[in-house]
């Protein structure tokens, strides 16, 4: 036993914010709980039945009271709503300079890939003070990436990408839990998040076996899966060139358009016929079952590394 905490550690910028909101709600809840308990206790004693068959005078209710105890709780809940929504809104918007990390949930482990190519299982090393954005998916069932010390939690859903972000504020080792029930060894799908001083983080990143970056792995996969045979860089292949694809707007055969983001690229690899680029035949076979979710993420990273589209660059300047 030993340790017996009653309150979780605060290790991200969100943690104190969520806790302040919690204290506000606790104060309101404590006030009303005491009010109701005290009123019941007081009335029950004060107006206890003294004689058998006594008949108290009738009160049929009072509109002012009803309005009062409707309006005051409603006002308080709207404060809770607005405050809670503003935190949620910021939790949904990772800053642009956030460190990108990919997470794949799988019965019953967390697989993590860093941009530089480093991979970990059930451990996540991140530098102190820098916003970190996780892009997540699942190989099988729904999982949930939960770090109590950061007060953040996000489902990793098969078939789509979800994101979450946090900015660690304290070096240390924190619990990582899978919070969405995922089968027999759900409670073993846990790990640790290590928040490191930037220098230690840099050392850690350099250590271990050196592999290429995530984009390099994607490039290898691009060869192995023979994607390169059709998707040639110069637009003379049977398929559209992928140079400058990421972030651009793609015209579809249906006449519509789609923004080429991670989800679009993932879908085009696994379900190529879902959205056909205008001017090209639906010739691509599906790679479902041939490439893992981690592999898809490497391919996405490779395609990203082929450069942003000229239009996107223009927009940024």
């Amino acid at each position: 036993m030993g340790k017996f905490p009653l309150f979780p550690e605060q290790a991200s910028t969100f943690a104190p914010e969520v806790d302040h909101l919690l204290f506000f709600l606790l104060a309101v809840a404590a006030f009303f709980t005491l009010l109701i308990f005290a009123a019941i206790f007081f009335f029950a004693v004060r107006y206890r039945r003294r004689s058998h068959g006594e008949l108290p005078e009738v009160q049929h209710g009072a509109m002012t009271l009803e309005i009062l105890w409707t309006a005051i709780p409603f006002g308080l809940t709207m404060v809770m709503f607005t405050w809670g929504a503003s935190i949620y809104f910021r939790e949904a918007r990772p800053p642009d300079d956030a460190l990108q990390i990919y997470v794949v949930g799988k019965q019953w482990m967390w697989k993590i890939q860093h941009m530089e190519g480093k991979r970990e299982i059930n451990e996540l090393h991140i530098p102190l003070g820098r916003p970190v954005k996780l892009t997540m998916t699942s190989e099988d069932v729904i999982h949930n990436f939960f770090v109590p010390a950061f007060r953040t939690k996000q489902d990793a859903v098969p078939g789509k990408y979800s994101t979450t972000w946090f900015q660690p504020t304290k070096a240390g080792k924190y619990h990582l839990f899978c919070a969405a029930y995922c089968g027999t060894r759900h409670s073993a799908m846990t790990g640790w998040v290590y928040v490191m001083e930037p220098r230690d983080y840099a050392n850690w990143m350099r250590g271990g076996e050196s592999t290429g970056s995530l984009a390099d792995d994607g490039a290898k996969l691009f060869q192995e899966l023979a994607c390169v045979n059709c998707h040639k860089a110069d637009n003379h292949g049977r398929c559209p060139s992928l140079v400058g694809l990421f972030g651009s707007t793609v015209k579809l055969s249906t006449g519509g358009t789609v923004k080429a983001d991670e989800a679009y690229i993932r879908e085009s690899i696994l379900q190529p016929n879902a959205k056909i680029v205008a001017g090209y035949p639906p010739a691509m076979p599906t790679f479902q079952g041939l490439v893992t979710e981690e592999g898809v993420l490497q391919l996405v990273e490779y395609i990203k590394s082929l450069g942003p589209s000229p239009a996107a660059l223009g927009g940024a300047r």
Partner: protein
């Protein structure tokens, strides 16, 4: 009071003694007792599983059962308690028995349908029990996809079919109640003379009829994917797993109100009777039931704040969830105000009513935490949520059910339960409940996820407290079981109106005659007019 000579007075209980007279009865009172018997069985089944869960969680390593067994225990605990105990509990037992009597009717509108609905619950229950005996199901009572459709190797189909069939029991009961309240009210029983118990059951019936079919559809789709591999929810088959959550909670959130609205109806009766005053703000309490039923359909998305639902949808659902909290708060304030200048008795049912209001207040207020987007992201899928919904469902619905059972026991059986034992058990249940579930709020905020067989050692102290509380709670639940049975033979003979209550059910004999009333009552007063019953009732101080 009943003259002492009616030794051979015909009651619904002695109208037939053989098994057939029970199994083929069309009497709403006997069907109510059939339900009572059935759901009590499921309550103790679900309770046995809860006991195993709490014993396992005394140690962090998980040595008592395997992870596989643990997952099956919490799944079947949830299935038994929610679908086969809580949803039928108050409506099918107390509602069945007393809704017709309270409006002065001889029976429900469709007595045969009422019997069929009991059989449907039994058939559904047999499916579920078969699944348990055959090896169990391990999906969690929420059956989230694609785990339930593709990955689980347990008895998903049998359990889901059981819930599907039991759902029709709920639909038919709701339908029966709606038609009965519209068509069978005694002369003079206008809508605003209805006891609040009836208003609450009417609102509940609307949810049962409108919500339960969605659950049926969801189960059919789940079976289609699991059996026929039609891609609906599993992305590998081209489906969307989050779609399941929307459909499931579209029923299962309103289902919380199927459990708690009837409980609120019971509490209105108890608070009024034992303070001898009409409920403060009768019409507002009545309409708040309807408001809860309507708004309850619009909040399902608050279960999906971390499920990749859009940020804006999350905001809308958070806002609406706060709106549905208001009518519940209004009820609590009105019950409390009813006590003011009342003549308050501490009879057992009132102790349960006090317990309900207190625990429901905590349950409701912690609902504000989980409706709050910023906080829910942290506490969802943790023990905070487990504690919150047990405060509503056990602290709320079961306290009210037991309060109602004590209140109407003399009418149902013609016998009084032993008052001192009953007060003692009410106290034990209140203490045991808080000791079990309050530590779970702290555990949840600390970050202990729910459905964890093995957990980090720093959570052990609070888990041990919770388990200690659960053993107190178990004693509290076993006591009524024993003294209720004891009272059938040895309890004091109950007068017609032991509490000096106003409802029509107290204006007939205890136990009631076969057709409830010797002549159809004519209603001339609003509900809860105690000037008509002065001088009656047993003195409980």
């Amino acid at each position: 009071m009943t003259p002492a000579v009616d030794v051979e007075r015909e009651t619904y209980l002695n109208a037939g003694h053989d098994l057939k007279s029970w199994l083929l009865t069309k009497d709403h009172k006997r069907i109510g007792l059939l339900y009572l018997f059935t759901i009590t069985l499921f309550f103790f089944l679900g309770g046995a599983m809860a006991t195993m869960i709490r014993l396992e969680l005394m140690t962090p390593q998980g040595g008592l059962v395997s992870s596989e067994t643990y997952n099956k225990l919490f799944t079947m605990h949830g299935v038994a308690m929610i679908f086969f105990f809580l949803i039928p509990s108050i409506p099918a037992v107390l509602g069945n028995f007393f809704l017709p009597m309270m409006i002065g009717a001889r029976d429900l509108a469709f007595p045969r349908l009422n019997l069929i609905s009991w059989y449907l619950l039994v058939i559904g229950g047999l499916f579920a029990i078969f699944a348990m005996l055959a090896g169990g199901v391990d999906t969690g009572w929420t059956f989230y996809t694609p785990y339930s459709t593709t990955y689980s190797n347990s008895w998903v189909i049998a359990t889901a079919l059981g819930i599907f069939v039991a759902g029709f029991s709920s639909i038919l009961t709701g339908l029966n109640f709606i038609v009965t309240v519209h068509r069978m009210r005694a002369p003079g029983m206008t809508w605003f003379r209805l006891p609040l118990f009836v208003w609450a059951h009417y609102a509940t019936a609307l949810i049962q009829v409108l919500g339960t079919p969605v659950l049926a559809v969801t189960i059919v789709l789940l079976l289609c994917e699991r059996l026929l591999h039609i891609g609906i929810f599993d992305p590998k088959l081209g489906g969307d797993p989050v779609l399941f959550q929307h459909m499931f909670w579209f029923y299962s959130h309103p289902a919380v109100y199927i459990m708690v609205l009837p409980a609120m109806g019971v509490i209105s009766e108890l608070v009024s009777t034992f303070s001898r005053k009409p409920i403060f703000g009768y019409k507002i309490v009545a309409f708040s039931s309807v408001a809860i039923a309507v708004l309850g359909f619009l909040v399902w998305g608050h279960h999906l704040f971390v499920s990749t639902q859009s940020v804006y949808a999350g905001m809308v659902f958070s806002f609406l969830s706060y709106c549905v909290a208001i009518p519940s708060a209004i009820k609590v304030f009105n019950w409390t105000a009813t006590l003011y200048k009342g003549s308050i008795s501490y009879a057992t049912p009132m102790l349960y009513a006090f317990g309900f209001v207190g625990l429901f207040t905590i349950g409701g207020l912690t609902g504000l935490f989980v409706a709050c987007l910023g906080i829910d992201v942290h506490v969802t899928d943790t023990y905070f949520v487990v504690a919150h919904f047990h405060y509503i469902m056990v602290g709320g619905a079961i306290m009210a059910y037991l309060g109602g059972l004590h209140y109407w026991w003399p009418k149902m059986t013609g016998r009084m339960y032993p008052e001192m034992w009953a007060r003692l058990s009410a106290g034990i249940i209140f203490l045991g409940f808080n000791l079990t579930f309050f530590p779970q709020f702290i555990l949840g905020y600390l970050g202990m996820p729910r459905r964890y067989h093995v957990y980090p050692p720093e959570f052990q102290v609070l888990n041990v407290m919770s388990t200690a509380g659960a053993s107190v709670l178990a004693v509290g639940y076993l006591m009524p079981m024993i003294y209720f049975i004891w009272s059938l033979r040895y309890g004091k003979v109950a007068p017609d109106n032991p509490w000096g209550a106003t409802g029509l059910e107290w204006k007939t004999a205890s136990p009631p005659p076969l057709h409830n009333f010797d002549e159809t009552p004519v209603v001339t007063h609003a509900a809860y007019d105690y000037s008509t019953v002065t001088g009656e009732g047993i003195d409980f101080g």
